[in-house]
Symmetry: C2
Subunit: 276 residues, 2 copies
């Protein structure tokens, strides 16, 4: 593991690190905020999964998470959204290939050799950070934005017992019925839609739900509202009486200004579950 | 004036606007955060002047100011750091020309035709925003980072009565004695150092000080510490018994992580003066 940068931040450290990933077969970069408390013992961990076109850096510099995480004594991990670099397949579109991993293990060429983001986020990266940093991996929570909100919800419901709470900012809720999903799942997972179901938050909510609290914020002025399919997840949550809150935030759009506005609420929400 | 973007943010609006500047003879872009209260009446204004290489955008997306400004009901203006574009002089170095206006009116070629940042920030832009938005221009405060901290301090002391309070994050404190200053003042203002004195915070502090409170934060691990010359301003503040606080923040560097960490303190400091 290499240290790219470490900056003092809200009494703790905002680090950026890279490592040779076995899952993705390439060098991967991630950000990690460690609060002051990590100097004296393991701290709980919140994952922040980012959206289309983002690297590890966007949320790290724009979401305003560190101040609230410092207040709660929680670490925040900011993974990249895909493998990258020479020799890694890509597509000209912004919503496929590098920067658009969709948190799945690709089974189809040319993606399969590197696009193993499910394994990377669910196994390899937690193993690495759990070994290298003062993190309490028995106390994890997860959130994300847009494609990363999809990732947070599907990982939380797909790995029962792993995360104590899940939240999302403007998540893609029903990708098997959206242009943000069908195209990518076809490319990464193939035409057989049976393979897609494990990566659709609405279908997972209908099937099993989440054993813990759920918080979702989406803006009423989200310019990608039709692609998100929030209504499907809302119906599924209500139908199964899922412990959860879905807030439609008046006038907010899909930007990081929206995320920053509600970050305090999300971190407080996760802190309550992590310290319960 | 053109609206480039408006995003809902902490109950208010983060806008980006451009206009044809008479002072700079080119199109200029600025960011403006308006809190919710601006919908019902004029609100106080905090200026944030940015550092070398920055546009209006860096602080707007990375400094985390909007949440605290919203809490205090204060607007925040994020001007650009220089004129830009085709036909505007530039230099290959990051610290001269576009992105490096140093908040002075250039008298020397090739800079004089466009680099009139003092006039732009002290007269043209306040006139414009005071006319177009619900801002109480009798209640203004100013802050900034690095070169923008230099700008904030020199404008505050150079325009007595204009600003109720001034603060700075890692400001350039004594540019007439620093490589961040001598090179640029020679280029913009000419070799006669008498013309430089009005743009040196330490000299202004020695001469007149500031009629209001001053807050300065600089990191002990600032990688540009020698260029900032903090010790000179510290001595000048102490010598004249200036109402003010200079904090050397242990372990912090020159980055926006440092700025974000102490933004709440700065906005609270200005709010106290603006609402006094």
């Amino acid at each position: 593991m290499k240290t790219i940068a470490e900056n003092r931040c809200f009494g703790g450290t905002q680090g950026v690190y890279s490592h040779a990933s076995k899952a993705c077969g390439t060098e991967m970069t991630f950000g990690l905020f460690l609060p002051e408390e990590a100097a004296t013992g393991p701290v709980p961990v919140l994952w922040f999964l980012s959206g289309l076109t983002c690297t590890h850096e966007n949320a790290m510099i724009k979401a305003g998470a560190q101040g609230w995480a410092a207040e709660q004594g929680i670490a925040v991990v900011f993974p990249d959204t895909s493998p990258r670099g020479e020799g890694v397949a890509n597509d000209e579109a912004y919503d496929l290939g590098q920067g658009a991993g969709f948190y799945v293990n690709a089974t189809q060429d040319p993606w399969a050799p590197h696009f193993q983001m499910w394994d990377y986020i669910s196994a390899e990266l937690p193993d690495l950070i759990g070994a290298k940093f003062a993190l309490d991996m028995d106390r994890q929570a997860i959130t994300g934005h847009s494609m990363g909100g999809h990732g947070a919800l599907t990982l939380a419901m797909g790995l029962p017992g792993r995360f104590r709470s899940v939240s999302a900012f403007a998540p893609i809720c029903h990708p098997t019925r959206s242009d943000w999903g069908r195209k990518q799942f076809t490319a990464y997972l193939g035409a057989d839609e049976a393979a897609w179901a494990a990566h659709d938050a609405t279908l997972l909510m209908q099937k099993n739900g989440f054993d813990g609290p759920v918080l979702i914020d989406t803006g009423t002025a989200d310019q990608f509202g039709d692609l998100l399919g929030t209504e499907h997840l809302a119906a599924a949550m209500a139908a199964r009486r899922q412990d959860g809150v879905l807030r439609l935030q008046k006038g907010y759009d899909h930007s990081y200004f929206f995320i920053a506005t509600f970050m305090e609420d999300h971190i407080d929400f996760h802190a309550q579950a992590l310290y319960a």
